[in-house]
Symmetry: C2
Subunit: 306 residues, 2 copies
């Protein structure tokens, strides 16, 4: 195999209660990438379509993560990468992570899969660090593993694959405004009330239990963020209205995707997801803000070879 075409999905990090540790993988939103072996050594980004991103390898997150796996494997050939971005950078659904993960995943396939998923996450984190100035895995892990993941620790890197009920769908509202991850992080307090932290870890524990027991109502009661959302929700016009509408129309939960501005809702079944999406669309049409809405089954596979 000399060439691979793949779909690298968008992902939702934090998932309300699990700031910096939980994430899940989407299915209908994502980038496409073509990666091919070349006689010429090194990593070369030959095309970026969709959004204006650097072609220079060291300045492109897909390039930086590709260099990480390339330097580890040291093959006597090179790779060129074409990136067809569908995920807008800064949308809050893991745009940089999808790029970083896709190149690493594709190169690993073309090398004959010498590296484990955990190692792929490590390589991809090098690319993610270019975009966010720190090494995170909460978007990369669900993209590479699929389903729901919990980043147990960064150093040493440890990722747990959580079970995922069959019929979970996400609705993603992407208001076309810009929130920089660094700005969203700067909003957060360095210290939080112990009582809020207790509520949050109780919710993380019960969310994990809900996924293991297919308990949708418990999942719903666990999708509650008393620590981060109160600080960040003001950055997203209409957040509370969207949340109330989503939950009022049957969503199990609704929160900020990553550092925003995208808002995710989790629904049991496609028909509920469609109804939630329709009512959010009517609501958000009343604002002046351009937006996109996506409905996606939760993707338990992760990156897909096309």
């Amino acid at each position: 195999m000399n060439e691979i075409k793949l779909f690298s999905p968008a992902t939702v990090a934090n998932v309300s209660c699990g700031f910096d540790v939980l994430g899940f993988c989407l299915d209908t939103i994502g980038d496409e990438m073509i990666i091919r072996k070349t006689d010429k050594k090194g990593i070369h980004i030959t095309k970026v379509a969709g959004f204006d991103l650097p072609l220079q390898t060291e300045l492109n997150v897909a390039g930086v993560s590709a260099i990480a796996i390339y330097d580890a494997a040291q093959p006597d050939f090179g790779f060129e990468i074409e990136i067809y971005k569908n995920i807008k950078p800064g949308s809050g659904v893991g745009s940089s992570s999808a790029s970083a993960s896709g190149s690493v995943f594709g190169i690993n396939e073309l090398l004959g899969r010498p590296y484990s998923n955990l190692e792929l996450v490590k390589f991809a984190m090098k690319g993610e660090a270019l975009a966010s100035q720190s090494e995170h895995a909460d978007n990369i892990a669900p993209g590479i593993y699929g389903g729901f993941t919990l980043v147990k620790s960064i150093s040493p890197l440890e990722i747990l694959e959580l079970p995922c009920p069959d019929d979970l769908y996400a609705v993603i509202l992407h208001p076309q405004i810009e929130i920089k991850t660094a700005d969203a992080r700067a909003l957060l307090p360095k210290e939080i009330p112990l009582q809020d932290a207790i509520t949050q870890w109780s919710n993380v524990g019960s969310l994990v239990h809900a996924l293991h027991t297919n308990d949708y109502q418990l999942l719903s009661r666990s999708l509650n963020d008393v620590v981060i959302e109160p600080h960040r929700c003001a950055l997203i016009p209409g957040f509370n209205d969207v949340k109330n509408t989503a939950i009022g129309n049957g969503a199990l939960g609704c929160g900020i995707s990553g550092s925003g501005p995208s808002i995710f809702s989790i629904c049991k079944g496609e028909s509920t997801a469609k109804s939630v999406a329709a009512t959010i669309e009517i609501l958000y049409s009343k604002t002046e803000i351009p937006f996109e809405i996506y409905i996606s089954k939760i993707n338990t596979q992760g990156i897909k070879i096309l």
Copy 2:
């Protein structure tokens, strides 16, 4: 049935990472109680053996919780309660909780089980509140449900029964010093670093996942408390030495039981538990502090009828 004799077990709250929400149930440490129907209405404590505790119903935690279920049920007869305390008050393994839960459980049996476990916890919390000035369920829940429990919320009360691997044993070291729960609470900061909170909720999530997947090594890596233990460990002479000894001899984890002074270690298998207990005993014998050591299988049944 006019009389019931029961074993109301000691319990370990917090379980390192799960301050105020996690707990598990012990099997070889606990109080015995005899409860019998009487023609005379009301709740009467007729005997307290083992420790000097009030006979006056309203001043005895078992009495107060008994009144709660009695007032709800309004039977046309009464109950008398004999309490044989084996759990020293203030030991950190849920002494007041065992008393409060036992009377409620026994009365419910004699009434023909009109109340659910969740309702029993609510009644028992009234007794617990007498001892700790606030309504907690993190000792009561594992005592009534058995195994590992997670108190998802107090209001409304919601308790999750977590799975419990077959061969988990606890070693309990009880140094005979007094730590008042109120003092141990006063030591805690009102605010904690967000980064520590993230570590803690990642550990709670991974502990729940470990119990669901029988992953002992993950359980071990999750039994880590970066929030409470650093503040409280100084109250317990030799805590760090005990912890290092326990883990060095094969314990999966070791931490403060409730608000101390008892220290729990969790072990896979009885032989490891015995070896951990033996080395802790040698270590603690070098201090001037009198102590007790118990080995107990984790009790998945909770309160037992004798």
